[in-house]
């Protein structure tokens, strides 16, 4: 009889540990888990950049809300994004999707974002989008910034707030920008969160 109580109790304890461990942020990972509703995608990207080796040429992060944990939802989400990401590598991690472009190439940012923004799955909505890439900046006559992806010639209009440190035009930079405008029809908008020189 003791054994019947011992083994299930151990099983229950380990089960509880396993269930609870995703809810406890690991060290250094406090901002990494959007599923707990506390970390914006921008903080996620910054935290990951600090703990990784050289980042890829470009990345798109998409934060989702809804059913993202079951295998069928993940499979569908992965397939939808893959179909629009061109040669990007797609990964689904909980309620976050990452599309990575390891080497310089044009990024179908609009296609990737609209695929999830306009999906008809019953319980899935796009919450936040972050775009990160290498390129150069150029100031336009009207004062706005133009961000050209390295080696591709692909150009994005970029809004840069006064508090964002901005290297000189023409220098290699790595831009992390929040992508907006996908809730409405029309062009997407990029707003710089961080501009790093020489990355």
């Amino acid at each position: 009889m003791d054994r019947l109580f011992t083994v299930p109790a151990a099983t229950a304890a380990l089960t509880a540990a396993l269930v609870l461990s995703p809810l406890t942020p690991a060290r250094g990972d406090a901002a990494l888990s959007p599923r707990h509703g506390t970390a914006p995608v921008a903080a996620t990207a910054e935290s990951e950049a600090k703990t990784t080796e050289a980042p890829p040429f470009a990345r798109v992060y998409l934060a989702l809300r809804g059913c993202t944990s079951c295998s069928h939802c993940r499979s569908t989400i992965r397939g939808m994004v893959k179909g629009s990401a061109g040669e990007g590598e797609t990964r689904v991690d909980g309620d976050r999707v990452e599309v990575r472009y390891a080497t310089p190439r044009a990024v179908p940012l609009g296609d990737v974002v609209r695929t999830l923004a306009e999906n008809r799955l019953h319980d899935l909505s796009l919450v936040d989008v972050l775009f990160e890439a290498r390129g150069t900046l150029a100031t336009q006559p009207d004062g706005s910034a133009r961000f050209t992806l390295w080696d591709t010639g692909q150009v994005f209009r970029l809004a840069v707030a006064p508090h964002v440190e901005r290297p000189l035009d023409g220098r290699p930079v790595r831009v992390t920008a929040v992508v907006g405008g996908w809730r409405e029809k029309g062009d997407l908008r990029l707003e710089a969160k961080e501009i790093k020189a020489g990355v």
Partner: protein
């Protein structure tokens, strides 16, 4: 389902220990977006119930019961961005019963099509694949999708899964091991004929598939089919085949959630199925549900609260048609269930539920049941 032996409990404990030990390491590695080849993601769901009286009986004198009905732990291991393992283990009734829900390799043939090989959840009905408890409003799973479509149902096989139209269209088509007709039951239907991929006889195979489409305006349609042999080469059973057709419709618009489903099962063969008296040659199930979110529109942000009030009517009969020579009918197999209650989601993946069931059967028995439950998904 037989209770687990002590050996199986030890194995289950060891498996959990391995997952716990590996999980922080794997998560740390997976936290690096530049980790190209290894990625372990863990997910799961569970539900705890109070039933008064206990479920599965029409005995009004049955006692109340509480149950850790299920805790399911699943993982996805990404060998490469196009090749992954999907698996889920179901610990039912406080780990008194352990069942493998799925264990398959998925290989992306392209952006929209994948090959799946292994223990596959049958694409029959909307609930069998999407059976996580926050996805339905009631404490217990709908009974049409318990007794007519035997959720959760998985078999070993191979097939394709894919989607189109930006996720609006989805399909799964598999070749799997068939049912075992020796498990057919007048009241439980084909539920006990499932083999679960556990040393399953594969003399008879079956084909199964589902097509679903999400139209604009929150309307979605689905249709499923299954056909295969079920005698598994047992000469005592004769030549038995099982066919299933199912169709469902759902409307989600604003605070409204409407759901309807019809399913039919046919057990046939060139010789009468007389190995067990009272087995239904045909079974059917009908379901209609309406739900309304009382908090719709009041909460905005990442974790919308929801308070669903719902009502559901189900009518199903697992002996709708029997052999003309059958000497024993089973009036209890014809059942009508009315369910109504509330489901509160403080966040979408967690639900606190309370509902009331009214049962009537063909034997003129009636029973009322009160249920409470908490459900979660992560």
């Amino acid at each position: 389902m037989p209770r687990t032996t002590p050996i199986r409990r030890v194995v289950a404990t060891a498996l959990l220990a391995a997952l716990v030990l590996l999980h922080p390491v794997s998560n740390a590695r997976a936290a690096s977006p530049d980790d190209e080849s290894r990625r372990l993601e863990i997910h799961g769901y569970g539900e705890i119930h109070y039933n008064n009286p206990e479920g599965g009986t029409m005995n009004r004198q049955a006692l109340a019961m509480v149950d850790v009905h299920r805790l399911v732990l699943g993982w996805e291991y990404e060998f490469t961005p196009s090749l992954r393992l999907e698996a889920e283990v179901d610990y039912e009734h406080a780990a008194g019963e352990i069942e493998l829900e799925e264990a398959y390799i998925e290989y992306d043939l392209g952006a929209t099509t994948s090959l799946r090989v292994g223990g596959l959840i049958m694409p029959i009905g909307p609930l069998n694949e999407f059976h996580e408890p926050p996805n339905y409003h009631s404490v217990e799973r709908p009974y049409v999708e318990t007794y007519v479509i035997p959720t959760t149902w998985q078999e070993v096989g191979v097939g394709l899964a894919g989607h189109g139209a930006n996720g609006a269209l989805g399909y799964r088509a598999y070749l799997v091991s068939g049912l075992d007709a020796a498990g057919l039951d007048p009241v439980k239907g084909i539920r006990e004929a499932r083999q679960h991929g556990s040393e399953a006889t594969a003399e008879d195979l079956a084909v199964v598939g589902r097509l679903e489409y999400a139209a604009r305006g929150g309307v979605s349609f689905g249709a499923s089919g299954y056909y295969g042999g079920a005698d598994q080469g047992d000469p005592a059973l004769g030549d038995v085949t099982v066919g299933i057709l199912e169709a469902d419709l759902r409307l989600r618009r604003g605070a409204l959630d409407l759901h309807a489903l019809a399913a039919g099962v046919d057990v046939s063969g060139p010789v009468p199925v007389t190995f067990t008296p009272g087995i239904g040659r045909s079974m059917y199930g009908l379901l209609g549900e309406v739900a309304f979110d009382l908090l719709h529109g009041r909460e905005r942000g990442r974790h919308d609260r929801r308070l669903w009030v719902f009502g559901r009517v189900e009518r199903f009969d697992t002996t709708a048609k029997m052999e003309a020579t059958a000497s024993q009918r089973t009036p209890e197999a014809e059942r009508t269930v009315l369910t109504g209650g509330l489901a509160y989601h403080p966040i979408q993946p967690v639900a606190f539920k309370a509902d009331f069931e009214h049962w009537e059967d063909g034997a003129e028995q009636q029973l009322n049941r009160f249920n409470l439950g908490v459900a979660f998904q992560f």
